[in-house]
């Protein structure tokens, strides 16, 4: 702060003495510089750029430097590595399912006291209990939700019509959806019926499980929650997708390529990809979106993907500044900027309810509406407890691969998956 090249030696030597006498004044006047980390710049770059510009106008004394990682996985590595070497950024935006790791390792800080200091009821600032729950891990408010997504149905209206379906009345239950997919598959000419994003992670599987009203783990987190009828129902659905819907064995990237090339009828994946799908489809075909087929109209829920900001600064001045940025980015104005530049769902009730923020955007971009309509049944993305958190996810995906390749029955897969996940849960006496 004082080491500018023009300083004479005497001034430089006297500076520490000056600091002794007037530390408070200096702190109040000096601009603060904070480091903020976020992942996936290919999705978020414009949004964070817009946030930075708007925030600089509001808080000219806070200078924000961004650090980015290509994806959430590397983002989590970065923070864990820097926590070990004491070089943490002041604020980091992490995927919802990774937040629990940081909460359990004491890296994330509790944000509720800061929220309460501003408003006794955080809901008045747009932080409703549902939205706060998205980033509530390890027993405390470990983050504030910044961007949310839920799974939606994308379909190729041309193929649906050719198969005798009505693109304006897309079926809303799995029986009819699978039948339609089967008809598209039988069109031949290299056309495939449907694809469900079962690989990558457990997020889309949890959509089927939550859709049945099921849970990943029991309430006390001591045992798996998918060993019952809901879990079997979810796995059987994947089995039926292969048998009745003609779901091919593809990687996620390959499936998206086939869909944007107009060779795949229906694809189920996160709404966060709407922008990319629109660009990919171009003029090849008419792209439409709608909500996920309903499984249990009463108990059925959907998982929420996306990212939350977590505070990691220790120095009080930087912590203040980082909190201001986090509050701004998750406030109505910041959320409106985020939504317009990405296509994710807003995480602030004021931005959702007050049409002055996003009303016009949604009128102009109807493909984003499928996810908005599903907000009422969206619940947090479940993150497994303990050090094997991420490995559990991979174990589930590996077992689902056996269904997709038709090498095991749903009952066998459910049994093995339950047994393997049980072994990975934290042991408690």
């Amino acid at each position: 702060m004082f080491a500018s090249p023009q300083l004479s030696r005497r001034v430089a030597l006297s500076a520490p003495a000056a600091m002794l006498f007037a530390p408070r004044i200096l702190r109040a006047q000096a601009p603060v510089e904070i480091t903020v980390h976020y992942a996936q710049p290919f999705i978020y770059k414009e949004a964070y750029g817009a946030l930075l510009a708007a925030f600089a106008r509001r808080e000219p004394n806070i200078k924000v430097n961004y650090v980015t990682t290509p994806n959430y996985e590397e983002g989590a590595q970065l923070i864990l590595r820097q926590a070990a070497t004491n070089q943490l950024p002041d604020l980091s935006y992490q995927g919802f399912n990774r937040l629990r790791v940081f909460a359990e390792r004491g890296i994330a800080q509790d944000l509720l006291p800061l929220l309460k200091a501003e408003a006794t009821d955080p809901a008045t600032a747009g932080y409703t209990p549902n939205l706060l729950a998205l980033a509530h891990f390890g027993g405390f408010q470990s983050g504030l939700a910044f961007a949310a997504s839920n799974p939606v149905t994308y379909y190729n209206a041309d193929l649906v019509r050719r198969a005798g379906g009505d693109p304006d009345n897309f079926p809303t239950n799995w029986n009819d959806v699978l039948q339609l997919a089967g008809r598209i598959d039988r069109l031949g000419d290299g056309n495939e019926g449907m694809w469900f994003t079962w690989n990558g992670d457990d997020w889309m599987f949890s959509a089927l499980l939550f859709g049945h009203g099921g849970r990943m783990l029991t309430e006390d987190e001591r045992d798996v929650g998918f060993a019952g009828p809901e879990g079997l129902g979810a796995i059987r659905l994947i089995d039926r997708m292969v048998k009745e819907g003609g779901m091919p064995n593809l990687s996620a990237a390959a499936a998206r390529q086939a869909f944007t090339a107009g060779k795949l009828g229906i694809i189920f994946q996160t709404t966060a990809l709407v922008r990319g799908m629109v660009a990919g489809a171009g003029n090849n075909f008419v792209l439409r979106t709608t909500g996920m087929p309903v499984i249990d109209p009463g108990k059925g829920r959907l998982p929420t993907g996306g990212a939350a900001g977590m505070l990691t600064a220790k120095d009080p001045a930087k912590r203040d500044a980082a909190w201001k940025f986090l509050r701004f980015s998750t406030g109505p104005e910041g959320q409106a900027l985020m939504v317009r530049n990405t296509g994710y769902l807003p995480c602030n009730q004021i931005a959702i309810d007050d049409p002055q923020y996003l009303g016009e955007f949604y009128r102009a971009n109807p493909l984003f509406m499928a996810a908005v309509r599903q907000i009422p049944i969206s619940i947090p993305w479940y993150a497994f407890p303990g050090t094997n958190s991420v490995r559990v996810t991979q174990t589930m995906v590996d077992n689902l691969a056996r269904i997709v390749e038709q090498r095991a029955t749903p009952e066998e897969v459910q049994r093995d998956m339950a047994a393997e996940v049980r072994r990975l849960l934290p042991r408690r006496s």
């Binding site: 996985e73 590397e74 590595q77 923070i79 864990l80 590595r81 926590a83 070990a84 790791v101 940081f102 390792r105 004491g106 890296i107 290299g190 495939e192 690989n199 091919p248 064995n249 593809l250 990687s251 990237a253 390959a254 390529q257 086939a258 090339a261 060779k263 795949l264 050090t387 094997n388 991420v390 490995r391 991979q394 995906v397 590996d398 077992n399 691969a401 056996r402 997709v404 390749e405």
Partner: protein, 302 residues
């Protein structure tokens, strides 16, 4: 006489030794910092339970290695890596040799073919993987489109557990063959022409006889080097797996280095990951040792 001369001579030797040390210092320092210390740190880490972001670490002796023996994922990774090497090494060594002989005997377009086959070596593996992902795409990929043209329904090359390792091995051969080709070409040009003439005089008239009696023995040192380098390159397979399959489906394409990466950087278990690294290191060292000690005895150095 000797006494009076010995002293300056010794001084000169120490001076030379010192100069030698100073001249090698940059390289030695770089070696120590970039290779030796990290390797030692990895070895130390392999005996701990260190996790990325954890507060501390504990010395757990051989527990990581005991876990490796029980770990189904590691066993699959090891088996897949061995299979991959068993496919890639012979095919790309023999293929490289065959191509080198064809180009060497050919009269036209030598530089052209050399460049064509060498291109994969200088191309970026990750970018090439994206190209392969398109070529092998089950529905819109050119390969399956061609197969469909002759009435065959091609498999899902990279997403079926039956074909994924074969597809990756094919990509591995494609990546390695050009490198081997260039090495063999260099080896071939080093064989004196007179030996072929002499062999012909001695009655080796067929091309196969000349290859068996002259080319193959004299290529010995080159072949040894090519085999060693191809095997270590194949054991190191990572890029194509990371970009194309992430070890899936259901670990059908899990290989050693990808398992190491996953344990260390996805599951954050650096201690366990270091143990896998040591296994990898042991395999590479064993390969090098085997080839230098055992095969070297049978190689004729001209």
């Amino acid at each position: 006489m000797s006494a009076s001369l010995a002293f300056p001579a010794r001084r000169r030797t120490t001076g030379e030794a010192l100069a030698g040390w100073m001249l090698t210092a940059p390289a030695a320092l770089a070696y120590a910092l970039m290779l030796l210390l990290p390797t030692l740190a990895t070895i130390a880490l392999a005996f701990t339970d260190y996790e990325l972001g954890a507060d501390g670490l504990a010395w757990i002796g051989l527990d990581n290695f005991a876990e490796l023996l029980r770990d189904r994922g590691f066993a699959i990774a090891l088996r897949n890596t061995i299979l991959y090497v068993a496919l890639v090494a012979p095919l790309s060594v023999l293929g490289g040799l065959a191509l080198a002989l064809l180009i060497e005997t050919g009269t036209r377009g030598r530089a052209f073919f050399r460049a064509v086959f060498f291109l994969p070596v200088v191309s970026l593996p990750v970018a090439m993987a994206a190209a392969w992902q398109y070529l092998l795409h089950p529905t819109i990929g050119p390969l399956n489109a061609a197969l469909r043209g002759i009435g065959i329904e091609g498999p899902a090359w990279l997403s079926s557990s039956d074909t994924v390792l074969l597809s990756l091995a094919a990509i591995g051969v494609w990546e390695n063959i050009g490198f081997n080709l260039v090495l063999f070409l260099a080896g071939l040009t080093a064989i004196p022409r007179e030996l072929y003439a002499a062999a012909e005089v001695d009655g080796a008239t067929s091309g196969w006889e000349r290859f068996r009696l002259v080319t193959w023995p004299l290529l010995g040192p080159t072949t040894l080097f090519v085999v060693t380098i191809t095997m270590t390159r194949a054991v190191r397979v990572f890029d194509s797996v990371a970009v194309l399959t992430q070890g899936g489906p259901n670990k059908a394409s899990e290989v050693l280095l990808y398992a190491m990466y996953e344990e260390g950087f996805t599951y954050f278990r650096l201690g366990y990951s270091a143990a896998i690294t040591l296994v990898f290191l042991a395999i590479v060292l064993a390969l090098v040792w085997l080839q230098t000690k055992v095969l070297e005895k049978r190689v004729h150095y001209a």
